[in-house]
C-alpha cells in the first residue's frame, strides 16, 4: 500500500482545500441579502446596491492592507490615524495648488512612510506590532491635528470631486477603485513571491527565516502597504466629503479588523484571503445599509454589528472544530 503512486490523485482536492473556506462567508452574505430584500423593497435596487458599494469602499480598501498585516501575523492599529494624516496632507497640497496627481502621490507616500516606520519598529526594533502601531496611531493623529491646527481643509475643485461623484459604465468611480485594489491585492498575494512570503511569515516566522526569506524587509513592505492603502482610501474619503478632516478615520482600524476577521482571516496569521475580506466588508456595509433602510436606530446598529462579528467567528471556529 505504501508504494502507491500519488501524482494522479492530486487534482480535485487541491481546489477544494484552497477555496472551501470562503464558502461559509459568501453564504452568510447571500443570506443577509436575501433576508433584507424580503424585509424591505428598497434594498434590492440598483441605486441602493451601488450605494452600499460606495459606503463600503473606504473600509474595504483599508481592510485589504490590514489583511496583509494580519496574514503575516501582525496587527496595525494605526490605519485610521494614518488615513487622517494622509488625508490632510492631500488637502493641504491641493489647497497649495499642487497638481492632483502630485498631491495624491504625496498623500500615498506619507501613508506608506508611516507604514515603513511601523514595519521598522516591528522588524528591526523587535517591538510587538500591537505596541508599535498603537504608538503610531497616536503620533499620526497628533500630527494630523498639528498640521491643520485641528481644522478641516475643504473646498476642492471639480476634477478632484470626480473621484467621488464620477461614474464609468454606470458604476461609481470609487467602486472601480475598490475593485482594482482587490484584484491587484489578490494577484500580489497569490501570484508573487512577496505574497507567498506574507503567508509563510504569518504561518511560521522562524522556519521562513531559515528558508532564506528576507523576513525583515518583507515586514517593512507589508506595513508600508497597509499605510499606503489607508492613504489611498483617504483620497476617496476626502473627495466624497469634499473636505480633509484631521479627525477622520476614527475607529476605522476596528472596522477593518472586523471585516478581515469576518472574512475568515486568522488573527494568528498564515491563513485567509483578500476575497474573504471583501465579503466581510460587504457584509458590514449591507448590514449598516439594511438596518438604515429598516429605520433601526444607530445605537441598535452597533449592537447588531458587534453580534454579527462574534457570530461569524463563532461559526468559523465551530466548522473548524467539527472537522477535527
Amino acid at each position: 500500500m505504501r508504494a502507491r503512486p500519488q501524482g494522479r490523485r492530486m487534482k480535485v482536492p487541491t481546489f477544494i482545500a484552497r477555496h472551501g473556506r470562503q464558502a461559509g462567508t459568501v453564504a452568510v452574505f447571500l443570506m443577509l441579502c436575501a433576508v433584507l430584500s424580503v424585509l424591505t423593497p428598497h434594498f434590492l435596487t440598483t441605486s441602493n446596491l451601488l450605494n452600499v458599494a460606495q459606503q463600503t469602499v473606504v473600509n474595504a480598501i483599508v481592510a485589504v492592507g490590514l489583511t496583509y498585516v494580519i496574514l503575516s501575523g501582525g496587527i496595525d492599529l494605526s490605519v485610521g490615524s494614518v488615513l487622517a494624516l494622509a488625508g490632510v496632507v492631500l488637502g493641504l497640497a491641493l489647497e497649495a495648488g499642487w497638481p492632483l496627481p502630485v498631491a495624491i502621490a504625496a498623500c500615498v507616500l506619507v501613508g506608506a512612510l508611516c507604514g515603513v516606520l511601523n514595519g521598522m519598529l516591528v522588524a528591526f526594533g523587535r517591538l510587538p506590532p500591537f505596541i508599535a502601531t498603537l504608538g503610531l496611531m497616536s503620533i499620526a493623529r497628533g500630527a494630523a491635528l498639528l498640521v491643520t491646527d485641528g481644522r478641516p481643509v475643504s473646498g476642492f475643485d471639480g476634477s478632484f470631486r470626480w473621484l467621488a461623484t464620477g461614474e464609468l459604465l454606470g458604476v461609481p468611480v470609487p467602486v472601480w477603485c475598490m475593485l482594482a485594489v482587490y484584484v491587484a491585492a489578490h494577484v500580489v498575494l497569490h501570484r508573487t513571491r512577496f505574497g507567498r512570503y506574507v503567508f509563510a511569515i504569518g504561518g511560521n516566522e522562524e522556519a521562513t527565516l531559515l528558508s532564506g526569506v528576507p523576513v525583515a524587509r518583507c515586514k517593512v513592505g507589508i506595513y508600508a502597504l497597509g499605510g499606503g492603502l489607508a492613504a489611498g482610501a483617504s483620497v476617496l474619503l476626502t473627495a466624497r466629503l469634499n473636505s480633509a478632516q484631521p479627525i477622520a478615520g476614527l475607529n476605522y482600524e476596528l472596522d477593518a479588523i472586523a471585516a478581515t476577521v469576518i472574512g475568515g482571516t486568522s488573527l494568528l496569521g498564515g491563513q485567509g484571503s483578500v476575497f474573504g475580506t471583501l465579503v466581510g466588508a460587504l457584509i458590514m456595509g449591507v448590514l449598516r445599509n439594511g438596518l438604515n433602510l429598516l429605520g433601526v436606530s444607530s445605537f441598535v446598529q452597533q449592537v447588531v454589528i458587534g453580534a454579527v462579528i462574534i457570530a461569524a467567528v463563532l461559526l468559523d471556529t465551530f466548522f473548524k472544530r467539527s472537522r477535527r
Binding site: 505504501r2 482536492p13 501570484r191 511560521n204 531559515l210 477535527r324
Partner: protein, 496 residues
C-alpha cells in the same frame, strides 16, 4: 480494565483508523507500536476524548464509556501524558499537581497552601519522586516535569495512563528513574499504554505489545514470545534487512571548508572540511555545540571569528538568506518550529526556499511551482491525499520529507541535517536514509548531526565528534566504533 473495540475514524481523504481493537489489563504495561501515521496518536486522542470517533465502543472496567469530551475521559479514569506537557510553567509543582482541585481554606475562594503542599508531597512520595512541591515548574528539567505529570495523573485517580514517547528527551539515568516509577504504578494496578519508537525499551518495561499499521490492528503479543525482527516486520509489513543503504563513496571536490570558527562561549576554533558526494556524521552529546555549529555556518547565529569557504571561495554568511543564495540548505532539529509552515500546504512549503526559480518578471508561476512539488512528492513518496494538504496533518516522517523536498527543490549543494530522523518511525527512517544516500550520490555534500550512534556509523563516510564547542576527534567510517565515538564525545582524557 480497558477494552476498545472496532474503533474507526475517517478524515477527508484518509482512513485514520479502521476497526481497531485494543484491550489493556489492570497492572499491565502495554506497548503500542507502529510507524508514524499508523494511527496510534489518533487512537489515543479518541481514548482521551480529544477526537470524536466514527464507530466503535470503549469499555472501562466493564462499563461502557462515551468519551465524548476530555472531561468525560478524565472522569472515566483516563490520563494522558503527551510529549508536549500540559503544565503551567509559572505555577509550582504542587499547584500543578492539584490544578483545579486545590484544597479550600476557611475563606471561600482561598487556597489552603499548607494542605496543598502536604497533599502534593503525598502523591510525589507514593511514586518515590524527590521533588520540592514549592519549586516552580519552569525551573525544572524535562525529566522532572514529566514526573510532575505522572504525579498529577496519579492524583486524578487515573486507572489508565497513556504515555506518548516519554523517554524521547531523557538521559539514560532519567529513563531508569522513569521506569522505576512506571513499575510502582503497575504495582498499584494502573493500566499503562506506552507509546515508543525505541525498540530496546520494549523488553525492559513492557508486558504485551500491540502493533498497528495503516490504521489497523496488526497483532498483539506477549513481550517474551516475540523477537525484535518479528516486530519490525509486523510494523513495516515487510522485512527490513538492511536499514542503512549500501553506499559507495565517490568523494569529489571540496565543497565547504570551515576554519577557526568561533562564537564566544559556544564554539571554539572549529575547523573541518566537507566534500561533494560525502556524508560527514557529526556526533556529540547534547549541548556539545553541534546544532550551534550548523546555525553559525548557516548565518542564523552571529560568529565572532573564523572563515567559511564554499567551493574554494571565501564567503561571508551573515544571514540564512545569504546561506540559501550560496547553495546551503539546513534541515533543522525541530521541524515543526523551525522547518515548516504547518498551516500551509505541501506545495507552498516545498517551494518556499526557491520561489525565485518559479518567478518570471516578479510574477509567480504557481503551475510550475505545483508541478515541481507534485514531482517531488511522488519522488520522495510523501503520503498525502494531495499537495494541497496542510503540512500539519501529515505524520512526522512525511513532514520531514517535505522539509527535504524544500531543499531538493532549491537544489542546495551543501546540506546541513540536524537530527534528520528524530521522532520518525523505523520504516520512514529507512526511506530518509536512502534519500540522504541518494543526495550524496548526486554529488551533494552532507553534514549529518545525529545523537543515534548506529545512524552515525551506518550513514557516514567520515565522523566528526564534538565536545564542549570543539571538534574533539575525527574517525573514518571503517575505523569507528560506538565505544570510541562515545569516549571521544565524553571529553578528551587529561594527557599524562
Amino acid at each position: 480494565m480497558l477494552a476498545m473495540r472496532g474503533i474507526a475514524k475517517r478524515y477527508p481523504g484518509v482512513v485514520a483508523l479502521d476497526g481497531v481493537d485494543l484491550t489493556v489489563e489492570s497492572g499491565e504495561v502495554h506497548i503500542l507500536l507502529g510507524e508514524n501515521g499508523a494511527g496510534k496518536s489518533t487512537l489515543m486522542k479518541i481514548l482521551a476524548g480529544a477526537v470524536a470517533r466514527d464507530a466503535g465502543t470503549i469499555e472501562v472496567a466493564g462499563k461502557s464509556c462515551g468519551m465524548a469530551t476530555p472531561r468525560a475521559a478524565q472522569q472515566a479514569g483516563v490520563a494522558i501524558i503527551y510529549q508536549e506537557f500540559n503544565l503551567v510553567p509559572h505555577l509550582t509543582v504542587g499547584e500543578n499537581i492539584l490544578l483545579g482541585r486545590e484544597p479550600a481554606s476557611g475563606l471561600p475562594g482561598f487556597i489552603a497552601a499548607d494542605a496543598l503542599r502536604r497533599e502534593a508531597q503525598r502523591w510525589l512520595g507514593e511514586l518515590g519522586i524527590a521533588l520540592d512541591p514549592d519549586a516552580r515548574v519552569a525551573d525544572l528539567g524535562v525529566a522532572e516535569q514529566q514526573m510532575v505529570e505522572v504525579a498529577k495523573a496519579l492524583s486524578l485517580e487515573a486507572r489508565i495512563l497513556v504515555m506518548d514517547e516519554p523517554t524521547s528527551a531523557l538521559s539514560n539515568a532519567e529513563i531508569s528513574r522513569l521506569f522505576e516509577v512506571i513499575r510502582r504504578l503497575r504495582r498499584r494496578g494502573v493500566a499503562i499504554i506506552y507509546i515508543s519508537h525505541r525498540m530496546e525499551e520494549l523488553a525492559q518495561i513492557g508486558d504485551r505489545v500491540t502493533v498497528m499499521r495503516d490504521g489497523r490492528h496488526v497483532a498483539t503479543r506477549g513481550i517474551p514470545d516475540v523477537t525484535l525482527d518479528e516486530l519490525i516486520r509486523l510494523m513495516v509489513g515487510r522485512e527490513l534487512k538492511e536499514q542503512f543503504p549500501a553506499r559507495r563513496t565517490a568523494r569529489g571536490a571540496e565543497a565547504l571548508r570551515v576554519e577557526g570558527l568561533t562564537r564566544r562561549g559556544v564554539l571554539h576554533d572549529v575547523s573541518f572540511t566537507l566534500h561533494c558526494g560525502e556524508v560527514v556524521g557529526l556526533a556529540g552529546l547534547m549541548g556539545s555545540g553541534r546544532t550551534e555549529l550548523a546555525r553559525a555556518i548557516f548565518g542564523a547565529d552571529r560568529i565572532d571569528s573564523g572563515r567559511v569557504m564554499l567551493n574554494g571561495r571565501d564567503v561571508a554568511i551573515d544571514s540564512p538568506r545569504t546561506a540559501v543564495n550560496l547553495g546551503l540548505g539546513f534541515l533543522t532539529e525541530d521541524r515543526k518550529r523551525q522547518g515548516l509552515v504547518l498551516c500551509r500546504d505541501i506545495a507552498e512549503n516545498t517551494s518556499l526556499a526557491s520561489l525565485d526559480r518559479f518567478c518570471r518578471g516578479g510574477v509567480l508561476s504557481t503551475a510550475r511551482a505545483e508541478a515541481a512539488a507534485t514531482r517531488l512528492a511522488t519522488d520522495l513518496r510523501i503520503k498525502a491525499p494531495s499537495i494541497a494538504q496542510a503540512v500539519v496533518n501529515l505524520s512526522g516522517g512525511n513532514q520531514q520529507k517535505v522539509v527535504l523536498a524544500k531543499w531538493i527543490c532549491r537544489e542546495a549543494g551543501v546540506l546541513l541535517f540536524d537530527e534528520p530522523t528524530r521522532g520518525i518511525d523505523v520504516g520512514a527512517k529507512t526511506e530518509i536514509y536512502q534519500l540522504i544516500s541518494r543526495l550524496a550520490a548526486e554529488g551533494r555534500a552532507i553534514l549529518m548531526i545525529s545523537s543515534e550512534l548506529p545512524e552515525i556509523l551506518g550513514m557516514s563516510d567520515r565522523i566528526l565528534v564534538m565536545h564542549a564547542g570543539r571538534i574533539a576527534g575525527e574517525f573514518s567510517a571503517a575505523g569507528a566504533t560506538q565505544e570510541a565515538i562515545l569516549e571521544c564525545a565524553l571529553g578528551p582524557k587529561v594527557a599524562a
